[in-house]
């Protein structure tokens, strides 16, 4: 099964949806930026490839 759609969702557009989700988005926004901070401070290494990346390189 393919995991990427034929349409590019746009990375800025994806982040915007997190910020714009209102109450439903608070926890997700926090997690999203917390992960980014950890990555920036090099406390967390880059993630292992997501499933779609594996599918792509196959």
């Amino acid at each position: 099964m393919h995991l990427l759609g034929y349409l590019d969702p746009g990375s800025g557009s994806m982040i915007l949806q997190i910020l714009a989700g209102g109450v439903a988005a608070i926890a997700v926004t926090a997690r999203f930026y917390w992960n980014r901070i950890l990555k920036f401070l090099r406390i967390r290494k880059d993630d292992e490839p997501a499933p779609e990346q594996q599918a792509d390189s196959a």
């Binding site: 990375s11 800025g12 557009s13 439903a24 999203f32 992960n35 490839p49």
Partner: protein, 491 residues
């Protein structure tokens, strides 16, 4: 696997829709006058999931989703598709005439946007989502928007955002904002760019004040900023978004928020259009009635399949045309009266009269990849009757198209024709000629017009208004009618 029997059953006229190739999971083709969709295995699985939802029946029943059935076998599929991955075939109800968003009025694009969002909300409730957000997936049956791309539904994948959000902004939200807030028609932009308006472009046409207006800050300003900052990190961001736990509730919240924004947008034609909408042109009452009768007699003299009323204005004659035609196109360059006509027809629940706004001196061309994705007007279905009332002077004098050129174009449609010719003495013609150098448009003259018309059509009938400055003609394609002698005195 294809069998010899299936091959022999395949209609010979099957052909792919050249505009349907962007989504690899589903491709549209035509065979024997019907519309089909060939699905890949993924596409078929998505369709089966859709079939099991309540929305599939509900939206078909109220006409908002195109009628669709899954066929057994793939015998109708053209050979080139079978060679690839075709797991299933759908048959769709045929839409009488295809139209494009750059031909719609403001309210038509808004209604299409709301339909798209309502379908998405209904889909999300049942574990599906629309994978794209293009208005080219909506068609109009008269004044009723119908979602035609059943292949757009897919099963919702956990952790993914609303993939179609950016496309929705570019092809629905920004065009509507542009017209509602800036009073700039979206049509030239949508016609000029098949993908619509980018967030950065939309940001560029906004003022500081705009960021305080509903829908602007998040969807335009912040959107453009985030896109500029993160534009090159698509894959990375997608996996971060997933990791942060993007969930369905978030998509629903975003779609609902967008619906509220779209709902709040409005655009009204200038005041003069409202006043003129209910009025007649420079006709006396008796002449207006005679003109109605002339048109009515022609349209009810035989059944017509498709009538184009070009220069339709407030749609008075389109409505008369509908008395004897299966389907009518009401086309006018001025969006104002077409918008008002659409609203009236929508209130009536009309499904027979399609309103479009288009300048006939610069009509919709063939567009997109290889010029095949969007067709010109005649490429979508030729009319068997054209009404060109109170139009030729605008085309010939205001737009400088030679009379012979205009008549030749009409003849190339192979249609019957009701055409009105206002003479040079007509007040409207005088007004159009007024600002021009004297002696211009020598071809705009009755005898020349009649000579050209009789050369291209069989003119069967001519009638002059009592004021004497307007003439009506009924003509059939050359070689199919019983022509009268136009050089003889008027009877």
């Amino acid at each position: 696997m294809q069998t010899p029997t299936e091959t022999s059953q395949r209609p010979e006229d099957s052909r792919l829709e050249p505009g349907s190739f962007r989504d690899p999971e589903s491709r549209v083709f035509y065979a024997g006058g019907d519309v089909y969709r060939a699905l890949s295995q993924d596409g078929l699985d998505d369709f089966k999931a859709l079939q099991e939802t309540k929305l599939f029946e509900r939206f078909q029943a109220d006409g908002r989703l195109v009628r669709t059935e899954l066929l057994e076998g793939t015998s109708a599929v053209p050979g080139e598709l079978l060679a690839k991955d075709c797991a299933g075939v759908l048959r769709h109800e045929r839409i009488p005439f295809v139209s494009y968003p750059y031909e719609w009025t403001f309210s038509m694009l808004k209604d299409a946007a709301l339909l798209q969002l309502d379908l998405n909300l209904a889909a999300l409730e049942e574990g599906l989502i629309l994978k794209d957000s293009t208005p080219y997936n909506v068609q109009f049956k008269g004044s009723k928007p119908v979602f035609v791309d059943v292949g757009s539904f897919e099963r919702l994948r956990e952790g993914e955002p609303w993939i179609g959000y950016r496309q929705f902004c570019m092809l629905y939200l920004y065009p509507l904002l542009l017209q509602a807030v800036k009073d700039v028609p979206f049509h030239p932009w949508l016609r000029g760019c098949i993908d619509g308006i980018t967030p950065a472009q939309m940001r560029s046409v906004c003022s500081f004040r705009d960021r305080f207006r509903k829908g602007f800050y998040l969807n335009v300003f912040l959107h453009a900023k985030l896109e500029a900052k993160h534009g090159d990190h698509g894959k990375e961001v997608k996996s971060e978004v997933k990791k942060a736990g993007f969930k369905k509730e978030l998509i629903v919240a975003n779609v609902r928020r967008m619906r509220k924004t779209i709902e709040s947008l409005s655009w009204d034609p200038p005041e003069g259009v409202w006043v003129a909408y209910g009025e007649r042109n420079s006709y006396s009452d008796a002449d207006a009635e005679r003109k109605d009768e002339f048109v009515r007699e022609v349209v009810t003299s035989q059944p017509w399949n498709l009538t184009w009323d070009i220069g339709a204005n407030n749609g008075r004659y389109s409505r008369i045309a509908a008395e004897g035609s299966k389907y009518v196109l009401a086309v006018d360059a001025d969006q104002g009266p077409v918008e008002l006509l659409y609203r009236t027809l929508r209130d009536e629940g009309d499904e027979q009269l399609l309103t479009l706004t288009m300048n006939l001196a610069d009509p919709s061309p063939s567009l997109g990849w290889r010029g095949l994705e969007r067709k010109d007007l005649a490429g979508r279905g030729k009319p068997d009757l054209v009404l060109a009332l109170a139009l030729i002077h605008h085309v010939a004098i205001a737009a400088n198209v030679p009379v012979a050129e205009f008549v030749d174009w009409l003849a190339s449609l192979g249609t019957s024709l009701v055409i009105e010719f206002p003479t040079r003495e007509d007040p409207m013609v005088k007004k159009l000629l007024g600002p021009k150098r004297e002696g211009l448009h020598p071809d705009y003259e009755r005898v020349n017009f009649e000579r050209v018309l009789a050369g291209a059509f069989d003119v069967e009938r001519r009638e002059r208004s009592s004021a004497g400055t307007r003439l009506l003609y009924f003509a059939r394609p050359k070689g199919t009618g019983s022509p009268i002698d136009l050089t003889a005195a008027e009877g």
